[in-house]
Each structure stands twice: as C-alpha cells, then as structure tokens.
Symmetry: C2
Subunit: 220 residues, 2 copies
C-alpha cells in the first residue's frame, strides 16, 4: 500500500502467468491433485510454454505444485495430516511474529486491519471468494509484516500459500465466514490493547476452528 510510486514496468509474461496460476489455485480453478497440462494452460494464458514453465518452477520451489520429471506438474495435494502439520508450524512461527510485531503496532496498522475487516464483510456478502481471501490475508499480514522479521513473514506466507487451495473450500460456507468475522474482531480488540497473550490466544482459537472444519471436509 505504500510503494505505489515505483517506476511502473509492464509486467513480463512470466509474472502475468504466475499471478494467473496463483489466482487459479486460490479460486479453485485448479484443483488439488489435478495434473497441469502445459500446452492447454499456455494457450489459455496466451503465451508460449516457456514462461508458464518458469512460473511453475517458482510454485514448485514454494511447494504449491509437485513435479515429476517427464510426467508433469500436479497441484499439490494436502492430506489431513499435512494440514495439521502446516497449522502446527504456523502456530510456532506466528506466535513469534505476533510477539515481535506488537511493539511496532501503531494507528496506521490498526486502521489497515479495520479496513481489511470492512473489505471482508463486503466480499462476504457478495460471495467473492477471491476478494475475501485477499482481505483475510491483508488482515493477518498487516500484523506479521510488522514483526521486523521479513524472512519470518515470508515463511508464514509460504505456509499460507500451501493451504490456499483449501481456504476457498472453507470460505464457501456462510457460517464460517460469519465466524471468521467475529473472531477477527476479537483478535483486533486484543491488538488494540497491545495484549500479546490475549492476541495469541485468540489466534489459536481462530486457527483451531479453521483446521478442524477443513479436516472434517477432507476426511469426508
């Protein structure tokens, strides 16, 4: 939100393709376990296979797709156990990030988070899952990014990415959307008072519910 005056360079085809792929994964256009056909996707995006492949390599490095030489790329699939592991690691990292970030929370940060809440409500009523997940991220990372630990924030982002394909599933249900809205307000309340233990506790409850819900979906 701050660096909007950088010298605007037209995005390379590869950057474009990468963004499209991420979006396709988040929105459910590419489903977990699905094989990625390079020809078909390249044509759909209007480029050749080269930039597509390079974008896929990045996603491979991030763990969003798996790859077997001469077999192709597959959208990464999470087992119920994987999901639990991701959330266990997230707890470790996010707790640390919250504790580190709290001293740096100012009015700007609070305002940012409030704006994200409003954006989530709007997207929720419209049923715009893509906008919803984007606002959700903005809310949480407004905090994490202020930890003064950019690498930590990056690792957390990676873990979020890994479950992107499943976040959409969670947000499809209106009940979950409402619950998240409530929980976010609880979290923000604790942050307003710079109460680290309460913030962390609220985040734990927040994550526990999500992982529990998605798990029941996965196991069914």
């Amino acid at each position: 939100m701050t660096d909007d005056v950088r010298p605007t360079r037209p995005p390379t085809a590869q950057e474009f393709v990468l963004a499209q792929l991420r979006q396709a994964i988040v929105s459910g256009g590419l489903r977990p376990g699905e094989q990625i056909r390079q020809d078909a996707l390249a044509e759909r995006f209007g480029t050749s296979r080269v930039p597509l492949r390079e974008a896929l390599k990045i996603l491979e490095g991030e763990g969003q797709v798996s790859y077997q030489p001469h077999r192709g790329y597959f959208v990464a699939e999470l087992s119920s156990d994987d999901l639990v592991e991701v959330y266990r690691i997230r707890r470790l990292l996010e707790d640390e990030a919250v504790a580190a970030a709290m001293p740096h929370i100012d009015d700007v940060a609070i305002t940012e988070m409030e704006a994200s809440l409003v954006a989530m409500d709007a997207a929720s009523t419209l049923g715009d899952i893509t906008a919803l997940t984007a606002a959700n991220r903005a809310f949480h990372f407004a905090l994490f990014e202020r930890s003064g630990m950019p690498r930590l924030a990056r690792l957390i982002r990676q873990l979020w990415d890994a479950t992107d394909a499943y976040r959409a599933v969670y947000f499809v249900e209106a009940d979950n959307r409402e619950r998240v809205a409530t929980e976010h307000r609880t979290i923000l309340g604790a942050i307003r008072e710079r109460d680290v233990p309460r913030t962390i506790a609220a985040l734990h409850a927040h994550r526990d519910h999500a992982v529990h819900r998605v798990r029941t979906i996965l196991d069914s």
Copy 2:
C-alpha cells in the same frame, strides 16, 4: 540412504544444472552479491540457457538467488541482521523438530549420525569443504528428518540453504572445524540418552557459536 533401489532415471539437464548451481553456491564458486551471467554459466555447464533459467527459478523460489526482471539474477546476500533472523527462526523450528524426533530415534539413527561424524573428520583433514558441509547436513538432518514432520524438515532445510554461502566461510578455519567436531559429539551424547532438554541446549550453544563467528566475519 534407504531408497537406493528406485528406478534410476538419467538426470535431466535441468536437475544437473540445479545441482551444479547449489554446489557452486555452497563451495563459494559463486559469491554472495555476484551477478549470474546466463550465457557464461550455460556454456560452462554444457547446456542451453533454458534449463539454467528454470533451475534459477527454483533457487529464486527458495530465496537463494534474487531476481530483477530484465536485469538478471544475483546470488542472495545476507546482512548481519539477516543472519541473526535466520538463526532465530531456526531455533524455533529446530527445537520443535528435535522434540518431535526424539521418540523415533533408534539405533539406525544413531549409527547414521556416527557415520556422519566420521565423514566430517575425514573431510576436515582433507580440507574438502564440500564434503564437510554435506556430512554436517547429514548429521543434523538425520535428526530432523525423524520428526515425522516432513514440511518442518523442509522449512529448516530452506533456512540452511539460505546460509550455505556463508557456511563455507565458517568451515575454512580449522579452529571452527575442531570446535564443531567436539560440539557434535556433545549433541550426540545427549541424543543417545534421549535427553531432549540437553540436546536442545547443546544445539543452542552450537548455533550460537556459529552465528557469532560468521557475524564477526560479516561485520569486518
């Protein structure tokens, strides 16, 4: 060490190039901050630029190289602060991994670690930094890999990768090599007794010394 009977497939050019690049970074052949000339490297590896670029994309995703469109790739450079951050995150993740792994430690694991120690001593006297760092990794990851949390092990590996370029610098000094040998034996002793707190404490001391030494080098 266990899955050596997989259907051996000749490595693709890209896999080969990726391995070479990693090696070049670990061994110091490519120095932090250095720009990567695609033409020159492709010729050196005997392939065209395409597989090289895809390998670089993977390293980009892992954060080992940085990338600016139309400008090129650069070997990632770590500031002293970055180093401290990496080790702080490592402590978080590795402590968890150790605690999770300890119940799964069996004789095979112990034997593996002992073998790594021997391999390190041999590489140390030969001055073979590449073999040394490989054996060092084998020692530590024999533990981490048994955590039952593959994603956690993967994240830890990523953090190790990020400092690969500086590990070589550390191991160049014979004093450091000797000290590491001693510390490893302390760590292994604690593991033999399945003593989690003592293992974690020994690892803390181990890491603290390394980060301190590298920091003094970086700041000079």
